[in-house]
Symmetry: C2
Subunit: 442 residues, 2 copies
């Protein structure tokens, strides 16, 4: 870190976010200087294609297509690593640290995959990594969990961490349109990628939850080990039934400490209407953290987008330049193998909660008795039932018997019992097809 009155930075990767970061650094040097106590100077911006238009005028000599120009320049203190993907992003980050640079990054997938290696190497080299922009964009959740709530044992953390999914679910709920049509709209509006798989299948949220779980609970979690389901293929019928029961469906990422074990999950979840989490619309993110001293703290903001993400990146650059990040990084020893894990992940079957089941059943006497009998055998008690008498909802099963939808909301039960009950219910003659199952909050 330069101790002079100027911190020189380079951006690697001038996509949407990179251009936003450059704009803040170039157009608003007064505010970064005021907060950093020194000038923050954009020395280089590395791109693959020098001729691609980027909607921003960079001073002469800043733009380059050579990473080496950054790595070989000892005057550059901080590398803003905005390359996506795992490789060569990982190699570039390692080389930059070896060249004596501190790192600010927004690459959540890279941290979720290689966090242990990268943070260990940073400590060996006496360098720091800041990553506020990697989770929830404009919500400064990394700083809040690492610093502002440091007097607390965090008891739970749950959030809407994927804006694309939330946009799709909110639109389906408000407009009553189907999944495929809504994905197309999200793509037209720029809220979804051409291939939105990682967003809608829960991968992105699980990677973010793995990072937050490390910071909040001291757990080292492989995001692949987090039980997850996505909103891909969500049936509008479930949004309608949830609404009638007083709930909305949200793609919720949850981490909860129970008896020293950490319950983790990502999936569509029924959230009670009128709670702040249920009212999160559009592409917004939200996170609710419960600390044993502070109680519940709720954060809501834009989870992605050029300037919200750039805001997080530049705050990290300021914290790095002014010297706060190195203190935090060295003290907390993120992802250190020398620090024993403070919580281990709980076996999925032991998770407990309330559940929503939707199934199609034969419309004749004894059906409800058969199903409630199975639930009783698994010690699952029922809090609400919706059984349609509406003829418009009648289909016929393969045997030609009319079927109707049946919705059951349970009291608290274990995930293990819920799974076994679903299997048994799916095996009943009176049940047609699979059971849709989601957890319920609030």
């Amino acid at each position: 870190m330069s101790t002079s009155n100027r911190t020189n930075v380079a951006i690697i990767g001038m996509g949407t976010v990179g251009a936003g970061v450059a704009r803040l650094l170039i157009d608003h040097g007064d505010r970064t200087a005021r907060h950093a106590g020194k000038t923050i100077w954009l020395s280089k911006a590395v791109v693959r294609d020098l001729n691609k238009p980027r909607g921003i005028d960079l001073p002469a000599g800043v733009l380059t297509d050579s990473i080496d120009e950054v790595l070989d320049d000892p005057s550059i203190d901080v590398v803003i690593q905005l390359m996506g993907g795992l490789s060569p992003a990982r190699e570039v980050m390692l080389r930059a640290m070896e060249a004596g640079k501190d790192i600010v990054t927004a690459n959540k997938a890279l941290l979720a995959e290689h966090g242990g290696e990268l943070f260990t190497r940073a400590r060996q080299l006496g360098r720091s990594i800041a990553f506020e922009a990697a989770v929830a964009g404009g919500i400064p959740i990394i700083a809040n969990v690492s610093q502002c709530l440091s007097a607390n044992q965090i008891l739970s953390l749950e959030g809407i961490l994927n804006g694309t999914s939330n946009f799709i679910v909110s639109q389906m709920d408000e407009k009553g349109v189907g999944y495929d049509e809504t994905v197309k709209l999200a793509q037209q509006l720029g809220y979804a990628e051409a291939d939105p798989a990682m967003d809608v299948d829960g991968t992105d949220a699980a990677q973010k939850l793995a990072i937050l779980s490390h910071l909040a609970f001291g757990a080292t979690v492989d995001w692949r080990d987090i039980p997850r389901s996505g909103i891909d293929g969500l049936d509008p019928a479930d949004l309608g039934f949830a609404g009638r029961l007083g709930y909305r469906i949200k793609l919720l990422a949850t981490a909860r400490l129970e008896d020293g074990e950490l319950e983790l999950s990502v999936g569509p979840t029924l959230v009670r209407k009128g709670t702040p989490m249920a009212e999160v619309r559009d592409a917004y993110n939200a996170i609710r953290v419960v600390g044993d001293a502070v109680g519940p703290v709720f954060y809501h903001g834009l989870g992605a987008g050029q300037m919200p993400t750039a805001s997080a990146v530049v705050a990290d650059v300021i914290d790095m330049a002014v010297g706060r990040t190195p203190i935090t990084f060295q003290t907390l020893e993120y992802f250190s193998e020398d620090r024993p894990a403070r919580a281990v992940q709980r076996d999925v079957a032991k998770l407990r909660g309330r559940y929503y089941f939707r199934l199609r059943v034969a419309n004749h006497p004894g059906t409800l008795a058969a199903i409630t009998g199975v639930l009783a055998q698994h010690a699952i008690s029922i809090s609400s039932v919706i059984q349609h008498e509406d003829v418009a909802c009648e289909n016929q099963n393969d045997g030609g018997i009319p079927t109707v939808p049946l919705v059951i909301m349970t009291h608290e039960a274990s995930e293990g019992a819920a799974r076994l009950a679903v299997e048994a219910i799916e095996g009943l003659d009176v049940v047609d097809g699979d059971v849709v199952r989601m957890p319920v909050r609030g």
Copy 2:
């Protein structure tokens, strides 16, 4: 600041919050040490009455009734200043800094009154003051505005900053009971002081807004210059009419940058239902900050209470011990006379917004024409009107003419025009008594 592996702290003032801070420091030394990278050691706790029960067992030798025992002890690094009121709290803080101690405080009134003097003296002495607990208790808004959102020009900041008022208004709204009865309930439940004047008349919220305005906008504001009204004497009728128009009434503190000038106000405000701010219940606080890069960020949490406030105090102690606070304090130069104000307060008459008016009018032809005529003269256009035909609402004015309530919601107008219009309307023969006027958001 001690550079050893231990930071010694003393608490001055062992009321509810002091006991909570002591509990966190004594019972949870592991977590403070993990975040501070060193032991945080409670050396002394100063009380007026050594014999008063405090619900916490302190190690032998910690409790004392002598402030000098703290000030004269060079091993004590940080003084946690939890005395209320202005004097002797101010003198004690000055003496502690002169004795070489850094300060963590929750005393918002002291900072609002004497911030300039105290911060200037701290800088002269090379000391730091941390004050997260002074505003919004469990919501870490000081750190978020000072650090996390540092890449932004903050455009507006509005919040529910007084939990007592919010509890009273929410209860009146939900239960339909009157102001006086609700205040008694709040006192029974411990949400309101025996004399709740400073909470319900807007003073407390104005003091907090003055502090936040300094951090967010670089404005030096005397809280007395903030136009303010309280919820004392709020009429349940207005909650009802607001509800019918799709709004709730909240005691809202607002700071908004317009053309380089800062619009400040504290008062009961109509907030649109379904927005996060309108759904803040009980004694919760909430703050919505809009930054030019990050967009809107919304925070919600407990604004007061023993452990939420202690959480903020202990986070400050950790930040002080680990070295982040001194960096922030020295860089940002809070309340420095050497730093020119970046925004000045706008003349109240220039504020613009939508308004809610409620008045009693004579129930005969021409009344509405007379009133809307006055509004038109002042270039104020109307968005909604509720005029009751309900006989149950009919009263009689002094002249024996039946009167009914009339509610008008306007489109955007200036505060100056709204005031003049209200004066003119109150002078009309068809109008009985004063006009109730509140701003409208959303």
